[in-house]
């Protein structure tokens, strides 16, 4: 590791902790810790939304995929995720209406569908789906970034993992403000790192027009031993995929991606409904800048290095550019950007995982009321525990975990699409319908995914669509067979002035009324 890189990494981590500490000072109550007191302004939400959106998978995987497959990385894979952002205002418009909204997505399930129960099964199911998903995702992200850091710096893998985990856990344990403020800083680092890298590699690839004309004619294999790329295929709209596959993937990424629980949570933290609507919309601008820079890196990378060096997968194109094609200071900032992308996603997921355990499981299922100060302490400990266990398992993840992690976003999509999209717009949707959707959706998704992978079922319709369809049809039937949801369940999401009865029911459901 060069002195410049060491210096940049030390400055990056020092500032990350400094911004994270600011969040510790801002969290005084349980509401501060869990939901930023539903009062976070647009600029901070924009930072945390963008930084969580851009993960290590994006910064490494998107240019790597562009390098290997061409523009289909954009049209076939990532367009669905961009569309997810465009769909989120539909959720935000209703979700943030209550004066004191749910603090978490599982608490939304409780308040919207079973506000009269003393212990909510729906809140517990939602929490379990979140905990399992975040746990798997954190582990794999931590592993990926530690391997990369270890290879680039030459430091031992365990040391890199421990350093990343220590900083991330410290900030995540600070609560929602800590994560949000440090993520704003991470967004600046990501934008700076990838834009500077793109600005340096673009001229080396011959400038904009030259780069594209060379990219269109490349016919070398992307990796040693791989099949040669067909000339022209890198700029084709669909690449190697069929129309039905791309359309299915687009729909599942768009709808499934928009209900991953960390997105509705950020809308809940917003200062008001307008802020909640603006967050996903405004974030499209920094995301556009970041992905334009990453696209240039992937395309220019293929022009500059038509075949990856022996033993290296195409995912190594960004580290290769950072270390060999840009000045050392810019390369070091690029590595910091990679770290920022990974860390900002991991810290948010550790926090949500820990909160799901403390707020949605322990607080929800405990027979006795837990004082708020005690619950904040429990939450901090559980956030630290989730981070530590995920880190220890990341040293050598069991094979089953790698397989299960591929299912995470599908589970979330199949579980949360019906309650969020239908539940916010159809008053009749009741608790039986959501029990059906939250359980059947992930199960059907997992089974059909397995059948498609084993080629025992056609891949014309993606597994998540099967999961959503079964969840939706069953939910509609349940809503007509059983009693409609009571007024207290939907009223705060519809009108500004709710009845006294509804206020009382919500206060009791949240444990704020004896």
């Amino acid at each position: 590791m060069t002195f410049v890189m060491l210096l940049v990494l030390v400055v990056y981590f020092a500032l990350y902790v400094w911004f994270g500490r600011a969040g510790y000072r801002m969290s005084r109550t349980l509401a501060d810790y869990v939901a930023g007191s539903w009062d976070i302004p647009l600029i901070i939400l924009l930072g945390t939304f963008t930084a969580t959106w851009v993960s290590a998978v994006s910064v490494i995987g998107f240019p790597g995929m562009t390098y290997k497959l061409g523009l289909v990385s954009l049209t076939g894979i990532y367009a669905g995720y961009f569309m997810a952002n465009s769909l989120m205002p539909i959720i935000a418009y209703k979700l943030r209406r209550p004066e004191k909204p749910p603090a978490t997505v599982p608490e939304f399930l409780r308040l919207r569908f079973e506000p009269h129960v003393s212990r909510s099964g729906l809140q517990a199911i939602g929490a379990l789906v979140m905990v399992v998903g975040y746990f798997l995702y954190v582990m794999l992200q931590a592993k990926a970034i530690a391997i990369l850091l270890s290879t680039i710096t030459g430091l031992p893998y365990i040391l890199c993992l421990a350093v990343v985990a220590a900083f991330v856990i410290y900030v995540a344990a600070g609560g929602t403000f800590s994560v949000a403020v440090s993520d704003l800083y991470n967004t600046v680092v990501i934008v700076l790192g990838v834009v500077l890298c793109a600005a340096f590699v673009l001229p080396q690839a011959g400038g904009w027009s030259n780069m594209w004309s060379q990219f269109a004619t490349i016919s070398t294999p992307p990796m040693v031993g791989a099949a040669a790329t067909k000339a022209g295929s890198l700029v084709s709209f669909l690449g190697p995929f069929s129309v039905s596959y791309v359309v299915g993937l687009f729909i599942s990424s768009a709808f499934g991606g928009s209900v991953a629980p960390h997105w509705p949570s950020r809308m809940l933290y917003a200062r008001n409904v307008k802020t909640a609507i603006w967050v996903p919309l405004a974030s499209q601008i920094p995301i556009l800048v970041i992905y334009a820079a990453l696209l240039i890196c992937g395309v220019a990378g293929r022009v500059l290095v038509p075949t990856m060096p022996p033993g290296k997968d195409t995912d190594w194109i960004m580290p290769l550019l950072f270390t060999q094609f840009v000045p050392s200071l810019i390369g070091a900032i690029g590595i910091a950007a990679l770290l920022a992308a990974a860390i900002s996603t991991i810290n948010s997921m550790i926090l949500h995982g820990g909160l799901a355990l403390s707020y949605d499981l322990i607080r929800n299922l405990s027979p006795k009321k837990i004082p708020d100060e005690k619950l904040v302490r429990i939450s901090r400990l559980l956030v630290i525990a989730v981070g530590l266990v995920a880190t220890v398992l990341a040293i050598k993840p069991p094979a089953l975990i790698a397989i299960m992690s591929a299912y995470v976003f599908g589970w979330w999509g199949a579980c949360f699409i019906v309650p969020l999209y239908v539940g916010l717009y159809w008053k009749r949707l009741n608790r039986q319908a959501v029990y059906w959707a939250a359980i059947s959706g992930p199960i059907v998704y997992s089974i059909t995914n397995w059948l498609i992978t084993k080629k025992m079922m056609s891949d014309l319709i993606p597994s998540i669509i099967w999961g959503i369809l079964v969840a939706l049809v069953g939910a509609v039937i349940c809503s007509f067979v059983f009693k409609p949801a009571p007024r207290e369940a939907w009223e705060p999401f519809e009108v500004a002035d709710v009845s006294e009865e509804t206020k009382k029911v919500w206060l009791k459901a949240r444990g704020e009324l004896a």
Binding site: L42, L74, G80, Y93, R96, V235, F237, N272, K274, W278
Partner: protein
């Protein structure tokens, strides 16, 4: 860069502004200050939050 790719990219990123701005207009029309109604569709309407925080 092919034009259809640019169109799809920008289309997916910015089509949300169509219904997003419609929702903002509906909030504005509702007249509910706590939701952000403040006299302008595009302004965030932090008056209620600012009053709560003692800024006004």
């Amino acid at each position: 860069m092919p034009a259809e790719t640019i169109l799809l990219w920008l289309g997916t990123q910015f089509c949300g502004f169509i219904w997003g701005i419609y929702f903002l207009w509906k909030i504005e029309k509702s007249g509910v200050k706590r939701w952000g109604s403040c006299g302008s569709t595009l302004r965030l309407g932090y008056e209620v939050a600012n009053q709560r925080l003692g800024k006004e």
